[in-house]
Every structure is written in structure tokens, then in C-alpha cells.
């Protein structure tokens, strides 16, 4: 039977079934579910197109309500968020008072499929922009769904504002109703600051506590839970709040500046060094110190390697970039660590045993932790870099820079060798092919090389893509799960990055409208892949590359464990591309090396022209991680080689 005949026959049968269903649903009082079109009844039979409900467009056009008294507690808090410049909210239904109040202020608000994914999205938004993003879930399961993502954001030192409704104070301890839990002990050790708000009249004051933490020192998640007495409290005027004044009264934008003696000592150490190196990390990004970083590097002729949750503070095509020169790292005799908040231990660094360390960090409490220092400088990163630039002498270190250049060349040669080896596997796509050809597409084709923001996730695949991908401007690469090592945040991250790019927030300004590239593995896609639907309903142009090797990345370490091995395996040739299509995205399935670039070009065009997500399901095989199939599973190239992403 032809498809047309099948449809026709289906339509005929539809009439009586529709009538029956309509009658049945009306009988159950379900008029609202039916709506006026009856689309819900006929979608399956008529292959109806996936559509975005008109409410999305209506919401965009709606007039924002005024946020003047009388206000509920949730609205008071939302007003604080707005005045503090929270740039986005990622949530799922629940915590309704707070979520809707925040949306009513005009802060872009996104609803997704899983609170964990939305929390990951907020994390990635922060990492792409340097700004605060909020996330929310309902009490109980909505909140606990976020735990992994909160922990991941904490390891990455992302300033996310975690909001959750919670049991009323009145009903505390009673297990009355459902979803009873003590939230704050749950996030102990996973956040910078947390508070269960008890006294409704202190809601503005606690917003101040939250933003002091989010906007000063080393960033990190702040978790507030809202009992209903706080969220629903009514305040007729400001006098009913204990504290209510503008943010200049409860926090300051001034930053700690460095001790001049420490700067002099550091300048002297750098001056006498033969092979100094700067490690630029999160603090350079959050203090927006990339210009200061470049001035110091160029004046004192010091190579820079990046480490951390976001890359691009120093352009990869600069002669002083050591990002693609991993073999040179051990040569450094003095290392200046700037804003490296999550500090690898000594045995985790590529730097050698004779290396001396200068560390700049805004938190005195952290300096000297894990890594013994020679000079510690407590300061805002930008202030310290500017002071150091003034203190150092102009130098040339031609021999050292030549060593970096030679190491970079050796690395590129090795990458090319891996690519050629990868091309030799013709029955599946080797990760070196993905890395190399993706880089060719992004940097050596029609696109300006600084244009595309990349969410660089995955596990095994990341060990290849990180060898080929480069960042040329701040916020261009958002690294994957970072030090917490979570598998699977990647599609959630993609949403946060895409929202940041679409709204041109922070360093993403100027790149609006351009597709984002996201990389993940098949294991990772299994965690947050449903958010393709979220990307689709918000018309986010994202190209997601799924490295599908039919297995968890752990497989290769268990290859001789015959009984336990299935734990590490999936079904083979799973069609994640079709899943994307079913969720409103575009799908490509690539099974040979020659198909990859054409598929990437098509997917990019769809993402750009139709503003929707595209999934490229790249069929690999698990055996690529075996030593017997060179190059096999590779190590990492960052300075903190034994850490996850440093």
C-alpha cells in the first residue's frame, strides 16, 4: 500500500474515531485539552507537522506587568534579580510563584524537559557570558533532579542562582502532602552559599546575600529555597520589608587590589625566568581581564596556555599561545597561574618538578591549596594583571617562543598523522576525522574563525576534538563537564550556550544568529538528548555532533571483563538522528568518513536558515579506543593533564 493510500484510508477511519474520542474527552471535562483544532487527536494518523503552539509568539508580544507594590514575596525577589542583571532563567514547571515572577520582569525564561538539563543550561550560559543565570525546579524531585548539575557548576565555579520551592515552614517535618525534603543539607559542599528563607520580610535582604556571593570573589552556585510563606507573602509597600534599598547599599563593585610588594616580587621572578608561562583560567574570564592578560604577555613576552571551564581569553593564533603546544609545558621554569579556581594537585600538572609558581587569586583562603606556591597574590585578576604589566620590563624571549612554536608544529604534525590514520578506517568514522574536518569547516572554510561558539563536550571524543578545536576570542569554547566529570550535560549546555549567543550576552555580542556547535557522545546524549525538543521549540540553531560508538567511554578499560562487559555497551547503530527528527530537529546519519563534511555542511545550513537544532549521528565503533587500533584512546592536552579539563 502506498503512503498516500495509507493516509487516505487513515483519514477515512479517522472521522468516527475522532468523534468518539471527542465525545469521550468532553465527557471527562477535557475541553481545554482538545482546544479548538482537535490537533491532538489527529497528529498520529495524518503525520501532522510538529508545530510550536501559538502561545510562544503571544508570550513574546505580551506586555510586561509593572513590578510596583503591592508585591508578593516572589515578585520582590524577581525584582531583585532584574535589578541585579540576571540574564536568563532555565527551569521546569514548579516553583511557580518565583518562576513566573521572574519571567514577568522580562528576564528571558526557558522551560525544558528536565531540571538537571536546565541547571546545566544555566551553568553553560554563565560560562559563555560571565554573567549570572538562574535555574529553578520544584520542591522534592525537581530540586533533587538538579543536584548533579549543581555539583558540576560548583566544580566549574559558575555563578548560577539555584532556586527551588520548598515545603511551607508550617508543614515542616510533617511529611504532609508530597515532596518533603530538607534542601540545604543536600547542597552542602556543592555550592558557595545557600539559605532556606524563613522570614518573609527578609526576602530582599536575602537576595542581597545571594548577589553578594554571586558577584564577588570566586564565583559559585548560590542555592535559595522558598517556603510558600515567603513566595506568597504580600507586601503592600516597601516599609513591610526589613531591608529594601538599592544594590549599591548592600554590595560593592570594588575589587581587591594586589600588594605592591608581591607584585614587585612576582615581576622580579618573571624577569629572571628563562621560560615563564601564564596559565589563564576562569578568573581571567569572569573579571574580563583578557586585554590585561594580552598586554602582560606581549610586554614580557610570556606564552599563555588556557585552562578551565571556558576558552578564548587568549587567541590561539597568537605567537605566544601555548594552547596547542602541550609538549612544551614541562619546559616552563616559572608559571603564573591566573584565576585557576579549581586547582590541580602537583601530580596532576604537566609542569615539571623544578617549576616555580606564582598564583593570583581573589581568595586568600585558596592560595596554596593543592599546589605549593612561591609567590601568592590575593587580588582581582584584572587588577593584578594590570599591576604586573606596569611592573615588568619589556623583554624578548625568542628562544623560548621558538620552542613553543616547534612544539606547536610537532603537535599539528601529530594531529595530521592521526587524521590520516583515521581516514584509513572506512567502515565507520574515526574521531580524528571528526576533529580535523570540523576544525577545517570552522576555521579554514567560509566562516570567520572567531564566529562559532562551541560547546565542547563528550568523553572519548573530546580527547580528539580538543586537539583540533581552537578559540580565537573570549567565550568561544565552553568546555564540557569540567572537573566534576559528569557524563551527559552536553545538550543541556548547548541550550545555555545557544541562548547566550542568540541574545548576544557579554562576549557573545556580535555573534547573534550564528549556529552553535555542540559535541557529545552517545552516552552523553542519553542523558540530556530530550532537550533537542527544547532547542527546537525555542528555535535555537545548534548543530549537535553525536559520536556514536555504541558504548560508554569506559568500555575499553573493561574489554577483558567478559561477564561485566555488557554493562558498558549499548545496542549498536542507534539512530539518534531519527530521535532528533521526532523532536522537531533535523537529522543526519553518517557512517563513512567521506560523508562527514557534507553532512556537517547540510546540518549547518539547516540550523542557520531554519533556526532549529540539527543532530549529526556519527557512527563510529568502540574498538577505536583500543591500543591495537591506533591511535587508540588518547591522553589530554591541558596543563592539568591528570585532572579533567585543566
Amino acid at each position: 500500500m502506498s503512503k498516500t493510500t495509507k493516509k487516505s484510508s487513515g483519514a477515512a477511519a479517522d472521522t468516527s474515531r475522532r468523534a468518539f474520542m471527542k465525545k469521550a474527552m468532553l465527557g471527562a471535562g477535557a475541553t481545554a485539552a482538545l482546544g479548538t483544532s482537535g490537533v491532538g487527536l489527529t497528529a498520529q494518523e495524518t503525520d501532522a507537522k510538529i508545530t510550536i503552539p501559538p502561545e510562544f509568539e503571544a508570550a513574546k508580544k505580551a506586555t510586561l506587568p509593572t513590578m510596583d507594590f503591592p508585591l508578593r514575596g516572589a515578585q520582590v525577589f524577581a525584582r531583585a534579580c532584574h535589578e541585579e542583571g540576571v540574564k536568563a532563567l532555565f527551569c521546569c514547571p514548579g516553583n511557580y510563584e518565583v518562576v513566573h515572577a521572574i519571567a514577568d520582569t522580562g528576564i528571558p525564561t526557558y522551560g525544558g524537559r528536565h531540571e538537571g538539563s536546565m541547571c546545566h543550561a544555566a551553568d553553560a550560559f554563565c560560562r559563555a557570558t560571565g554573567e549570572v543565570a538562574a535555574t529553578s525546579g520544584t520542591e522534592g524531585p525537581g530540586f533533587t533532579n538538579m543536584i548533579n548539575a549543581i555539583a558540576t557548576a560548583n566544580a566549574a565555579r559558575s555563578p548560577i542562582l539555584v532556586l527551588a520551592s520548598n515545603k511551607s515552614v508550617f508543614a515542616e517535618d510533617s511529611e504532609q502532602g508530597i515532596q518533603d525534603s530538607y534542601q540545604q543539607p543536600t547542597t552542602e559542599g556543592l555550592r558557595k552559599y545557600g539559605k532556606r528563607m524563613i522570614t518573609p520580610s527578609r526576602v530582599w535582604e536575602y537576595a542581597g546575600y545571594a548577589f553578594r556571593q554571586l558577584k564577588s570573589g570566586v564565583p559559585g552556585p548560590v542555592h535559595l529555597d522558598f517556603p510558600s510563606e515567603v513566595a506568597r507573602a504580600r507586601f503592600d509597600d516597601a516599609s513591610e520589608l526589613e531591608y529594601f534599598f538599592e544594590n549599591t547599599k548592600y554590595r560593592t563593585e570594588t575589587k581587591p587590589h594586589p600588594d605592591p610588594a608581591a607584585i614587585d616580587a612576582a615581576a622580579q621572578m618573571l624577569r629572571s625566568a628563562e621560560r615563564p608561562m601564564i596559565v589563564s583560567s576562569n578568573g581571567v574570564f569572569y573579571s574580563r581581564a583578557w586585554d590585561a592578560l594580552r598586554e602582560l604577555a606581549e610586554k614580557a613576552h610570556i606564552p599563555v596556555v588556557e585552562s578551565g571551564a571556558t576558552k578564548g581569553q587568549f587567541p590561539a593564533d597568537h605567537e605566544l599561545s601555548a594552547d596547542a603546544a602541550p609538549r612544551a609545558l614541562m619546559s616552563a621554569d616559572v608559571v603564573l597561574l591566573v584565576g585557576q579556581y579549581c586547582m590541580p594537585t602537583l601530580g596532576e600538572f604537566a609542569f615539571g618538578p623544578d617549576t616555580r609558581y606564582i598564583r593570583i587569586d581573589p581568595s586568600a583562603e585558596d592560595i596554596g591549596r593543592n599546589l605549593p606556591i612561591d609567590i601568592g597574590i590575593v587580588s582581582d585578576e584584572k587588577a593584578a594583571l594590570e599591576a604586573l604589566t606596569a611592573a615588568v620590563t619589556r623583554q624578548r624571549r625568542a628562544q623560548w617562543v621558538a620552542e613553543i612554536a616547534a612544539a606547536r608544529q610537532a603537535f599539528e604534525t601529530e594531529n595530521e598523522e592521526y587524521y590520516q590514520i583515521g581516514l584509513g578506517y572506512t567502515d565507520a568514522v574515526h574521531p580524528a576525522v571528526i576533529g580535523k574536518e570540523l576544525a577545517d569547516f570552522l576555521y579554514r572554510g567560509a566562516l570567520p574563525k572567531d564566529r562559532t561558539t562551541i560547546m565542547q563536550g563528550g568523553y572519548g571524543i573530546a580527547r580528539y576534538t580538543r586537539r583540533y578545536l581552537r578559540a580565537y576570542r573570549p567565550g568561544q569554547i565552553i568546555n564540557g563537564a569540567y572537573q566534576y566529570g559528569a557524563i551527559g550535560p552536553d545538550v543541556g549546555y548547548a541550550l545555555g550556550v545557544a541562548a547566550a549567543v542568540r541574545d548576544g550576552v557579554g562576549p557573545q555580542a556580535g555573534y547573534q544568529g550564528h549556529p552553535v556547535i555542540a559535541i557529545t557522545g552517545d552516552a552523553g546524549f542519553g542523558f540530556t538528548g530530550m532537550e533537542v525538543e527544547t532547542l527546537s521549540k525555542y528555535r535555537m540553531p545548534v548543530v549537535i555532533i553525536v559520536y556514536n560508538n555504541n558504548a560508554w567511554g569506559t568500555w575499553s578499560g573493561q574489554v577483558n571483563n567478559q561477564i561485566g562487559l555488557p554493562v558498558h555497551l549499548f545496542q549498536e547503530n542507534v539512530r539518534y538522528d531519527k530521535m532528533a527528527e521526532a523532536l522537531g530537529g533535523y537529522g543526519e546519519y553518517v557512517t563513512t568518513p567521506g560523508e562527514f563534511t557534507p553532512a556537517l555542511e547540510r546540518a549547518y545550513r539547516v540550523a542557520r536558515d531554519e533556526s532549529r537544532p540539527a543532530v549529526i549521528n556519527v557512527q563510529a565503533r568502540k574498538e577505536f579506543w583500543l591500543r591495537e587500533q591506533p591511535p587508540g584512546f588518547l591522553g589530554k592536552i591541558e596543563p592539568g593533564v591528570m585532572s579533567y579539563y585543566h
Binding site: E274, R275, P326, M330, S331, D333, L346, G347, A350, G352, P353, D354, P372, E403, Y459, G485, T554, S556, G557, R627, F633, L634, G635, K636, I637, V641, M642, Y644
Partner: protein, 158 residues
């Protein structure tokens, strides 16, 4: 240089790593036949024994690279890598200067051992080089044989 001078210089060199926090749990004990064994943890929570023979200026890392059977591809690859650390193509600060020390690797009882022998009394130089060599080997394993570190160094597979 007399052997006694070598001992002092070697002690100073290694103790400096401990003082800087590079080595942890640093101790020294006499070994057989006048040797000295320096024990410390360093790149991993794993005791490294660096055996020093003052008479010959020989340093051997014991317990550092377990489970490397002789004549395996890994043993051959590591031996080649270690012996290549004297190559003139390497920057001076990354190589073992053959005029001052020789370098080799060999397998004993299923473990690979790194050996640096001081020449013309350059004991402190050799001590510095053998420590750096161990670090180079560690990075090499990380880059190209991460599974070895998972299995033998309790490194995280994640």
C-alpha cells in the same frame, strides 16, 4: 668529585623538592652495599623509591613502573622513549646531557626501572635529571598509554 660530596649534593637536591612540597613523605634509609634509598610520594599516592649508589653515581627508580613485562610493546616503547632523552634535538633543559650522565631503562621482575648514571662526578645533575626523567615518562604514559595509568597508578578513567 668524591663520593661524599656527591651524597651531600644529592641530598640537597632531593630535599629541596621535599621542602618545596613537590615530594611528600620524604624519607631516606640506607640500602645494601652502601646505597641510599630515598622514598617519597609525588605524582600519585604511590611510594617512589629512588636508589642512589654514591660510589658509582647510579640512580635507579624502583617501584615506579610496575607491570611492564619485558619484550612487550609497552616495554619497547618506554625503553625507546627513555633512551631518546639524550637526543641533541631536545632543548637543553629537557635532555640528559650525555657528557654528564647516561640514561637507560630496563625490566626487572616485571617492572620497568629508570637508570641515570652520573659521569665525572655530576651527581647532583644526575639526581635532578632522574627526577625530571620520571616526570617525562609519566607525561608520556598519560599522552599515549592512559590505560596504563588507570591500571597501575589508580588514575581515574573518567
Amino acid at each position: 668529585m668524591a663520593a661524599g660530596d656527591g651524597v651531600s649534593a644529592v641530598r640537597r637536591c632531593l630535599k629541596a623538592y621535599a621542602d618545596r612540597g613537590v615530594f611528600r613523605g620524604y624519607t631516606e634509609r640506607p640500602g645494601r652495599l652502601g646505597r641510599i634509598v630515598f622514598r617519597f610520594s609525588w605524582l600519585a599516592r604511590h611510594p617512589y623509591d629512588l636508589q642512589y649508589e654514591p660510589r658509582t653515581g647510579t640512580f635507579i627508580f624502583l617501584n615506579a613502573l610496575p607491570n611492564v613485562p619485558a619484550r612487550t610493546p609497552l616495554a619497547r616503547a618506554l625503553k625507546t622513549f627513555v633512551e631518546g632523552r639524550s637526543a641533541e634535538s631536545l632543548p637543553e633543559h629537557r635532555r640528559v646531557d650525555p657528557a654528564r650522565a647516561s640514561v637507560s631503562a630496563f625490566v626487572r621482575r616485571g617492572e620497568m626501572r629508570l637508570r641515570v648514571v652520573a659521569r665525572r662526578g655530576h651527581h647532583a645533575y644526575a639526581a635532578n635529571r632522574v627526577v625530571n626523567l620520571m616526570h617525562e615518562v609519566y607525561l608520556h604514559l598519560h599522552s599515549y598509554y592512559p590505560e596504563y595509568l588507570w591500571e597501575n597508578y589508580d588514575a581515574s578513567q573518567d
